[in-house]
């Protein structure tokens, strides 16, 4: 088919510009990007709240118990524009009153009277932390080991392949749980558990790519110029395989979030902070009695971010690496 040759026609554009252009043309991808942006903002806001209260040495509102307000449904279900006390108000006053009521626990409260929305935002903060920190653990390990294995081959390759195949053959979730058990409960356990299992796939991909690129003329040329091995690997080959890292990152991010949720739910994840998994776990029992909003909020939050990242990851993969295209 000639479309291939059509698309590879020269245009003075870097890979990244080209990818961005492809991406921008996808409406769905842009929507996802916007959603991810929203979540990022929420996470940053959550981080600010957290640190503000931390620095002021005060208890943040999402941890403050108010038993008088427990199990309040979301504000939009509480008929904010009606109610008894609005009887003698003018319509404008009533409207303003309604707005204020809408802003009061918009997603309801949980069993200790804490605002669900605030807790969902804090959950976003935790989810982002988990996604980012696990990537910060997994990506350097995966990239460095993958590059070394692919480039040097021989003994180095044997060792690294042995290492990752050993890691790969241990059942995933159990391995993560076990690591978390060793490190101890809490975020550190989550980070290490997920991070130390996530590098394997990346390492394998990078190794494959590097092996391919090692044979390319530009590497031979660089070698002919007498460049050092590490310079060749990290200055010449790595930029050419870095799109693999980007795509892996976007596809692994939701995985990390989902795993964190499961770990927290099982009680070996985040401790003392409102994570989505903990919210689901708290809300589960009340669900039988119709208190659905805490469960729904956490579930929807997870669904949104994971869906956005999944779709974005697909689009990115299509844009960055047409050979890996999965079709539309």
């Amino acid at each position: 088919m000639n479309t291939e040759s059509v698309e590879s026609l020269p245009e003075s554009m870097t890979l990244w510009q080209d990818a961005w252009r492809r991406l921008r043309r996808r409406r769905l991808a842009m929507v996802c990007l916007a959603v991810v942006g929203l979540y990022t903002l929420a996470a940053m806001y959550g981080e600010c709240v957290y640190w503000w209260y931390r620095l002021h040495d005060e208890t943040p509102p999402y941890k403050r118990v108010n038993l008088a307000e427990q199990y309040q449904p979301p504000s939009f279900l509480r008929s904010p524009f009606g109610g008894r006390e609005t009887g003698r108000m003018s319509s404008l006053e009533r409207f303003l009153h309604g707005l204020k009521a809408l802003g009061h626990h918009p997603l309801g409260t949980d069993g200790l009277g804490r605002d669900v929305l605030q807790r969902v935002i804090q959950g976003t903060r935790i989810a982002y932390q988990v996604g980012i920190v696990t990537s910060l653990i997994a990506i350097p390990i995966g990239v460095v080991l993958g590059c070394l294995a692919g480039y040097f081959g021989g003994r180095v390759d044997d060792f690294i392949v042995w290492l990752y195949s050993t890691f790969a053959c241990i059942p995933g979730l159990l391995f993560i749980l076990a690591i978390a058990m060793v490190v101890g409960k809490g975020l550190l356990g989550v980070y290490l558990g997920i991070g130390l299992t996530m590098w394997v796939g990346l390492c394998r991909l990078i190794r494959g790519e590097v092996i391919k690129h090692k044979e390319r003329p530009y590497v031979t040329a660089a070698r002919a110029l007498g460049l050092g091995h590490f310079r060749i690997i990290f200055r010449h080959i790595l930029p050419n395989v870095f799109h693999v890292v980007i795509v892996t990152f976007t596809l692994r991010f939701p995985y990390a979030i989902g795993t964190e949720v499961i770990m927290s739910f099982l009680g070996i994840g985040v401790q003392g902070e409102p994570s989505w998994g903990i919210m689901i776990s708290n809300a589960r029992l009340r669900l039988w009695h119709g208190v659905w909003w805490e469960m729904a909020a956490a579930t929807a939050a997870i669904f949104g971010i994971v869906l956005a990242f999944n779709l974005l990851g697909d689009a990115l993969r299509d844009a960055l690496d047409p050979r890996l295209r999965t079709g539309r």
Binding site: N2, T3, S5, E7, R25
Partner: protein, 323 residues
Amino acid sequence: MALSEELLRVEDLRVYFSTERGLVRAVDGVGFVLPKGATYALVGESGCGKSVTALALARLVDEPPGYYAGGRVLLRGRNVLEMEEGELRRLRGNEISYVFQEPAVSLNPVFRIGYQLAEAIRLHRRGVNVREEVLALLKMVGLPDAESKMKEYPHRLSGGMQQRVMIAMALACRPAVLVADEPTTALDVTIQAQILELLARLQRELGMAVLLITHNLGLVADLAERLLVMYAGRIVEAGPTLDLLRGPRHPYTRGLLAAVPRLRSVGGEVRGIRGSVPNPLRLPEGCKFHPRCPFASDICRRVEPEDEWDGERVVRCHRWREI
């Protein structure tokens, strides 16, 4: 030649592709007539649209992204482009069949050769002894030890043999038209000659019409009766092979011929064509060749030339008489 019966007529064929970057007019107004038993060659640089033209003859272009924007392909008077799916299926492999350029990937890797041949026979012919027919076909294309080769998987054969199998498969139902899309590109030079020879022999024996698609002018000189030169989705020049090779009229054909290295001109320079194939998304105004044409004048930049007939020869150029 002119007396021959008309078999395939292509009129103003237009095949466009809608890609992410825009519309690609891969084939834009191609027309020719292929008589029964004749061998025509379609030549041009890669990307000029010749493969798409070939595929369009049996409506094999992937839709989407491609679509047929206009024109007709008449095989024995019936328009292929308007056929029902079932009718098309009966046509393909039966009346018009193909030999593709890379036999290594064009054969299904997980089926035995015998099966793939038999499939072609079973689809269109009833009441024949399939096994014997397969053996006969393999013998016909000169495959030694046909009996055992039948049971082999494609990857166990050499490139030349694979291409012979492809040809055998194409000939399984004695088609009226054989389209050979660069059948020799992926092969060694020595094998190339064998395959072309084989094609020539089979064409003589079976009396079918052959449309040979190639970018290599030298190869087709002996084989084809008529040359069709394509550039940017259009046939820019056509005519009997010898006439055309001796006296090319379109500047593009001239350029192509000049670019063929000749033994005689050792030490002489090989001249190519300036510039490169234009971006199909942004074809120039007027004559599509004018940016690379040494003879381009003002009119070439503005107005697209029409076909000009001169006996059996056609050319699309404003200034062919002048140069």
